[in-house]
Amino acid sequence: MNNLLSQLHFATAAEYLVPSLIHGIGVVLEATFFGFILATIIGIFIAIGRLFGWKIVKAFLYVFLEVIRGTPLLVQLVYIYYVVPLIINLFAAMLGYKTDVQIDPLVAGIAGLAINYGCYMSEVIRAGIVAVDKGQMEAALVLGFGRYEALFRIIMPQALRSIIPSLGNYLVMMIKDTSLLAYVAVNELLLRTQTFASQTFYTIEAYTYLALFYLILSVPLSHCIKFIEYKLSSSNR
């Protein structure tokens, strides 16, 4: 038993892998930060479009949501990174241009996260908007505010109170889902670990460290969110 354990080289692995993973955290945070902000914006616009948009907008968004929610995030990422540039090049070729468009891996990753999460978050945001008393919109309208003004000034701030806790959960999920960006060549934690493990064969050690890093990222964050949720609900007027 002791013999077996002594074959593991956690210390050596740490020496090379941990600094690399620490660098990778920067990438994870960058992808999550921009991905989440964009997802929130996309989510708000999808929610508003589905609630207040013209029929054609509603129909388009409905189909769009079905497509995004009916396909895996990983497939979407691969599609954005590998397929979208090919399509652009193909169209350019049809128009007589020779192009070699490529998308930066991180940009593709952020776009994929933002679109995918934006669609899921739009449902939460929509529910939050619908849950605000109808009288609030009417009160704003009769004071002379326009529909969208009322929405952004009066309704959204109230909706956000109920939305923020559930959006927080999406934030934690997104941090973990950045691991999928490894498949579109973003040098985040998983890709760094894979590379390291395949070169050193310290497989057990490497992936154990990887798991630990995700825990270090997500556990404190989810506790922060619980705390915010608690603060919001106790200060609820």
Binding site: E138, A139, V142, L143, G144, F145, R153
Partner: protein, 245 residues
């Protein structure tokens, strides 16, 4: 102010307003009474285009209300107070009252605050400026809602059962504010179940039933000598021996 001809409103197949014709003059106080579901709220909400009429015409000071009209401008002049107050819960009382003048009329902050404080004083809530709506009683909230509507300096106020959500002992503080408004010459259309208020304060009482105006007239006529049987039945039912003198 308003000239209404053959106004109709239906939701799908349900006809809520079948044909309403009436005029509302400057400075008039009109009370609309009638059984539940008769279309009183719907009528009121057509006047500021919260509901879009499905037939007939409404003229406001000679201008026809149709979809080319800027409903925002109409609503600046014709304010509304709701049964459930609908104050903005995340703002203080003062901010509730200042908010629309600042962001709709672009009144300066100092000026808006001055107007707001004066109005709060007027509705007897000068000391509640810093409170949040949830910290106030229903009667106080409704008075804030009236101050909020007045802050836009409307020419007319629509009230949809302003005291129906209140505990009985709080009704009078709101009615008194409305009586004072009347003294200042504010035009008001009030949907109410407060027969005492309708009788004492209004210039004209309108009895609605099933989407029609059944009868209208001066309060003394309607309450003492109703011409229509339906009016009589309704009054007997709501007054039912209780005296509002």
């Amino acid at each position: 102010m308003f000239n209404i001809f053959d106004l109709k409103k239906s939701y799908g197949k349900t006809e809520v307003l079948k044909s309403i014709t009436m005029r509302i003059d400057d400075g008039e106080v009109i009370c609309i009474i009638g059984p539940s579901g008769s279309g009183k709220s719907t009528f009121l909400r057509c006047l500021n285009l919260l509901e879009e009429p499905t037939g007939g015409q409404i003229y406001y000071n000679g201008t026809i209300l149709d979809n080319t009209l800027d409903s925002k401008r109409l609503r600046r002049e014709v304010g509304m107070v709701f049964q459930k107050f609908n104050l903005f819960p995340m703002f203080t009382v003062l901010k509730n009252v200042m908010y629309a003048p600042m962001h709709v009329k672009h009144t300066g902050k100092k000026e808006a605050e001055k107007i707001a404080r004066n109005l709060l004083e007027k509705v007897g809530l000068g000391n509640k400026a810093a409170a949040y709506p949830a910290q106030l009683s229903g009667g106080q909230q409704q008075r804030v809602a009236i101050a909020r509507a007045l802050a836009m300096q409307p020419k007319m106020l629509l009230f949809d059962e302003p005291t129906s959500a209140l505990d009985p002992e709080l009704v009078n503080e709101v009615l008194n504010v409305m009586k004072n408004l009347r003294k200042e010459g504010m035009s008001m259309v009030v949907v109410t179940h407060e027969m005492g208020f309708a009788r004492d304060v209004s210039d004209r009482v309108v009895f609605m039933d099933k989407g029609f105006i059944v009868e209208e007239g001066r309060p003394a006529e309607i309450f003492n000598h109703p011409k229509q049987e339906r009016t009589q039945q309704f009054l007997n039912r709501v007054l039912g021996g209780v005296s509002y003198e």
